[in-house]
């Protein structure tokens, strides 16, 4: 069986529409059923992604294929988006009561259907973005993602924090979109192309002025910097992350960021040869590393801490981007997916009972050893201890930095890693050293228990045996998608 790559997106889109439709007519059914159905559907699409037909070679990129590619990187991030969405939906099921309480609607189930359907549309956008090799396509898919996030962030409409987060996200995001469009017009004006490959071909042409093209690229970078939360476009992150419903925060920090990095990797390729661009990116990476890690040190609210930590990790990823280590960035993102979603999943379970502050985790090891252990693994991986995926991610990134002799980035990186140990271990300390506030165990639903076990296993498995991830990125013959072999 051979499947064309775009049919994956189409399938997910159909799934989203179906969920919306059925949800409208099924008032009596428990709305969580739809989330389960969506997870199942996404899992099917995930399985189907292993039977893809190869996309045409670069020479034959015409018509549709000049907008869209199905190279290993694209397929890899499509799977990435699918897995993220599945985990986020699992988290949302657990979070549903909180949403219900903060909506105060007439019917007890009102709104939940959309809450489960919107992530599916975001997922389509993320998958599309992974394949986009044309500025127009990048813009459209980016907007699809952002639109659905507008609604999701402000979903708890009676909760002022969520509303504040929604407004902040809306305004700043719209602003960054403006920058993106403006930047694209500059690049188009100079080169006359929107396709990335042709843009880079045009840039080599000595008759073309690089100045305006660079300016356009700068504007595009502003927009992408907003998506990946790089300094100085990170101001929105803490408030939005803290105010948004926790599963949405997790989605924002993993899905949105990963897609931003894919686009960044693709867009930067023609420009990174210019030394100005490299210097600029080094500055951005340094700022992101320092700001994220230092600002995380004094945090007492775990959600906010994770927000700053996500800025910090954007810094490490940017180091990888500067060093042109696409593989390292991709591996780091996988590690980041697992450990961030795991910590958010534990947070959702614990916050329902106690709260979102680090204090509320006091003595968790006594109340529910399973949750504490899951959080311990997540924190160890975020800090970068060996035998976890987080360590290998940092290892690859630092390896790339050493290879390109980026001394400044290395020195700052080592210092910020040490900072990281402090703030991640603060959570460990709360869970294991402090006396518990109460002694009732914290209930964990079967579904999230399964999801947590899967993520823990993933963190440790990929931390010891990274080969499957590296293989998935490789276009070589012997480990290409199955369809190629025939």
């Amino acid at each position: 069986m051979i499947i064309l790559a775009p049919s994956l997106e189409i399938a997910v889109l159909v799934l989203g529409v179906l969920v919306l439709l059925f949800e409208m007519f099924a008032d009596q059914i428990d709305k969580r059923t739809f989330a389960f159905a969506a997870m199942l559907g996404l899992a099917t699409v995930f399985a189907a992604s292993f039977f893809l037909a190869p996309s045409p070679t670069e020479a034959a990129q015409a018509g549709f294929w000049s907008f869209y590619t199905a190279d290993p990187l694209a397929i890899f991030f499509k799977r990435f988006a699918l897995v993220t969405t599945i985990f986020v939906l699992a988290m949302m099921i657990d979070y549903a009561p909180v949403v219900r309480d903060s909506i105060h609607a007439a019917s007890p189930q009102a709104g939940l259907g959309e809450f489960f359907a919107l992530p599916i549309f975001t997922c389509v956008g993320l998958m599309w973005m992974a394949s986009a090799i044309d500025f127009v396509m990048i813009f459209v898919s980016l907007e699809l993602v952002t639109m659905s996030f507008y609604i999701l962030v402000a979903f708890m409409r009676r909760n002022s924090a969520s509303l504040e987060a929604g407004v902040k996200y809306l305004i700043l995001s719209a602003l960054s979109t403006g920058f993106l469009v403006y930047g694209i017009t500059w690049i188009f004006g100079v080169t006359g192309e929107t396709n990335l490959a042709r843009v880079s071909a045009a840039l080599v042409n000595p008759a073309i002025e690089t100045g305006p093209a660079l300016f356009g690229m700068l504007l595009v970078l502003v927009a992408l910097g907003f998506k990946i939360a790089a300094v100085p476009f990170q101001i929105w992150v803490p408030d939005v992350y803290q105010g948004a419903p926790t599963p949405v925060t997790a989605y924002l920090s993993v899905g949105s960021k990963a897609a931003g990095f894919v686009v960044l990797l693709r867009v930067l390729q023609p420009f990174l040869v210019m030394p100005q661009m490299e210097r600029l990116l080094i500055l951005v990476a340094l700022g992101t590393l320092i700001y994220g890690n230092l600002a995380a040190l004094p945090q007492t609210n775990l959600k906010r801490l994770l927000a700053y930590s996500s800025i910090a990790h954007a810094g490490y990823l940017l180091v990888g981007v500067v060093c042109l280590a696409g593989e390292a960035v991709a591996y780091y993102l996988v590690a980041y997916l697992l450990m961030t979603l795991l910590s958010f999943a534990v947070l959702v379970s614990v916050a329902k009972q106690t709260g979102e502050n680090i204090e509320d985790f006091n003595g968790l090891a006594k109340r529910s050893p399973f949750l504490a252990f899951a959080m311990l693994i997540a924190m160890a991986s975020l800090a970068g201890l060996p035998f976890t995926a987080g360590f290998l991610g940092k290892f690859y990134i630092f390896n790339a930095a050493v290879a390109r002799q980026q001394t400044m980035l290395i020195v700052v990186g080592v210092i910020t890693v040490a900072c990281g140990f402090y703030y991640y271990f603060k959570v460990v300390r709360a869970m294991y050293w402090e006396a518990p506030a109460g002694d009732t165990p914290i209930p964990v639903s079967g579904l999230s228990r399964v999801a947590m076990v899967v993520m823990m296993a993933g963190i440790i498995f990929f931390g010891i045996y990274p080969q499957p991830v590296l293989d998935a990125l490789r276009p070589s013959r012997d480990n290409a998608p199955l369809a190629l072999k025939r």
């Binding site: 311990l376 201890l385 035998f387 290395i410 080592v414 890693v417 140990f421 460990v428 050293w433």
Partner: protein
């Protein structure tokens, strides 16, 4: 196969304990069996042969050519023996744990397993990763079951060790990348062969970073401040394992990697190392004399004695480096014994302030005898393994660069190091007098002696250190082939 067992069995036991197996029984059995297996390795090992023996290897990452490779030479065999012995003794010495019994034993076993893995690995990646395995258990052991200002101590050791480890990681990556792409490998054996390809100009930087990373892990002056505090606060078994075994990882790393692979770099930074280690010997030695609590004094003394081992490493002679290896083993045993006894005393008297103690020799004769022997060993009295190691280090260093016309820095350092012996005699004997002699302290009425069963671990440790004190050759014969190849390659 035995090697694989020795590395993985403690890990499996730790997991079993976490999942609810009877803690003390499982821990004792598993460490006992590991010790037995290590002894088997000792007898199966063919001394005199160069190179690594009993190599087993499993591929992990094709792209990066990372393999899970285990193997032994004399040096790593010695480290394994030390680890197995001290882990066994530490588990035996663990008394009643009020809460989280299972977690306590699991943490101990994790530290032991991490050390085992690090010393048996022939792959840079696992060498590093296994050592880091101990970081979280140490944090928890000190933070949960520690005494005194345990929180501060746990933070300090964790941040210091994490930073040191990351600097080390950087050094290892630089080392890996220093040779041309085709020759790159994580495998020690390949590294050793391709080391000649590392340009001398690059060696200096790599050596400095490795020295910094390993130095922080071994509490090289001036990065030593985490050690006394952590050891004073840690529960006795954790201090035994950390000061006795885990800290030696840095020294092992210098002997295993930095010396043979970067000879030019080592030469370049030898002066720096000697100045720093004199800081360990003299400055920290004087600080040790000023201590008013037994646990702090022992912590500082363990920092001070690292100076001798560094001196052996800096000496650049076969005799000196072999002495350093012997001293690593000897110090590991004696400091473990001292921390164990200090822990027992704290449990009975509730204090380790030297002024409040006194006359314990009458109440705890067995403890007094054992402490006396360990203190003598630690000072370096003839007959104990420490003496053999120190003598070799001192002679080796003195001979290095010897010139009848004038004293070189090596000779000056040797003379100062000999004063270090006097310093350690001063603080150890003063502590012994304050704790065990004189009139019995006011609050020490009903103090009882050690349990009879503790004779086993104490006897084991004392006999071993005496054995190697009288017959150091049984060890030296193991480790010199390793070092011989280093110095042969150099010329």
């Amino acid at each position: 196969m035995i090697l694989l067992f020795v590395v993985l069995f403690p890990l499996a036991a730790a997991l079993a304990i976490l999942l609810g197996a009877p803690a003390r029984k499982t821990a004792l059995w598993s460490t006992g069996l590991t010790l037995g297996a290590t002894l088997l390795l000792y007898f199966a090992f063919e001394a005199g042969q160069g190179g690594y023996q009993m190599v087993t290897s499993f591929p992990v990452s094709r792209d990066w050519n990372i393999n899970f490779t285990l193997g032994l030479d004399g040096l790593s065999l010695m480290m394994l023996l030390l680890t197995a012995l001290v882990t066994f003794a530490a588990v035996w010495f663990t008394g009643e744990i009020a809460e989280h019994r299972n977690a306590f034993y699991a943490c101990l076993l994790f530290i032991g397993a991490g050390a085992m893995g690090a010393f048996a690995s022939l792959d840079l990646f696992f060498f590093y990763a296994f050592h880091e395995l101990a970081l979280i258990p140490t944090f928890l052991l000190i933070g949960i079951w520690g005494t005194g200002n345990r929180q501060l101590a746990a933070w300090k050791i964790t941040i210091y060790l994490a930073t040191g480890s990351f600097i080390l990681l950087l050094g290892l990556i630089m080392l890996y990348r220093a040779v041309p792409e085709a020759a790159r490998s994580f495998d020690f054996r390949v590294l050793q062969k391709s080391a000649a390809l590392i340009p001398a100009s690059a060696q200096g930087n790599i050596f400095l970073i490795l020295l910094l990373g390993f130095g922080i892990l071994v509490s090289l002056f001036p990065f030593h401040t985490w050690a006394p505090e952590a050891y004073a606060s840690a529960p006795a078994p954790a201090a035994m394992l950390h000061a006795g075994v885990l800290k030696k990882f840095g020294l092992y790393g210098l002997l295993r990697l930095a010396l043979p692979l970067l000879p030019a770099g080592a030469q370049q930074y030898n002066m720096l190392l000697i100045y720093l280690l004199l800081g360990n010997l003299i400055y920290v030695g004087l600080v040790t004399i000023a201590q008013k609590r037994l646990d702090w004094m022992l912590g500082y003394s363990s920092v001070m004695h690292m100076g001798y081992i560094f001196l052996g490493i800096a000496s650049g002679t076969l005799l000196g480096t072999s002495g350093a290896a012997v001293l690593i083993f000897a110090h590991g045993i004696s400091i473990a014994l001292l921390f164990a006894l200090a822990g027992e005393i704290r449990q009975r008297t509730g204090t380790l302030v030297l002024e409040d103690l006194g006359g314990l020799g009458k109440l705890m004769p067995r403890a007094g005898l054992a402490f006396g022997l360990a203190a003598f060993a630690s000072i370096g009295l003839p007959g104990f393994a420490n003496f053999a190691g120190e003598v070799m280090v001192v002679f080796g260093t003195f001979r290095s660069g010897a010139n009848p016309e004038r004293f070189h820095i090596y000779q000056i350092a040797t003379v100062l190091a000999l004063w270090g012996v006097v310093i350690s005699a001063v603080y150890m004997l003063r502590a012994y007098r304050a704790v065990f002699m004189g009139t019995i302290g006011e609050s020490l009425g009903g103090v009882t002696d050690l349990r009879r069963s503790l004779r086993v671990p104490i006897g084991l440790l004392v006999v071993i250190t005496l054995w190697f004190g009288f017959f150091p050759q049984s060890f030296v014969r193991l480790v010199t082939p390793t070092f011989k190849s280093y110095f042969a390659a150099k010329q």
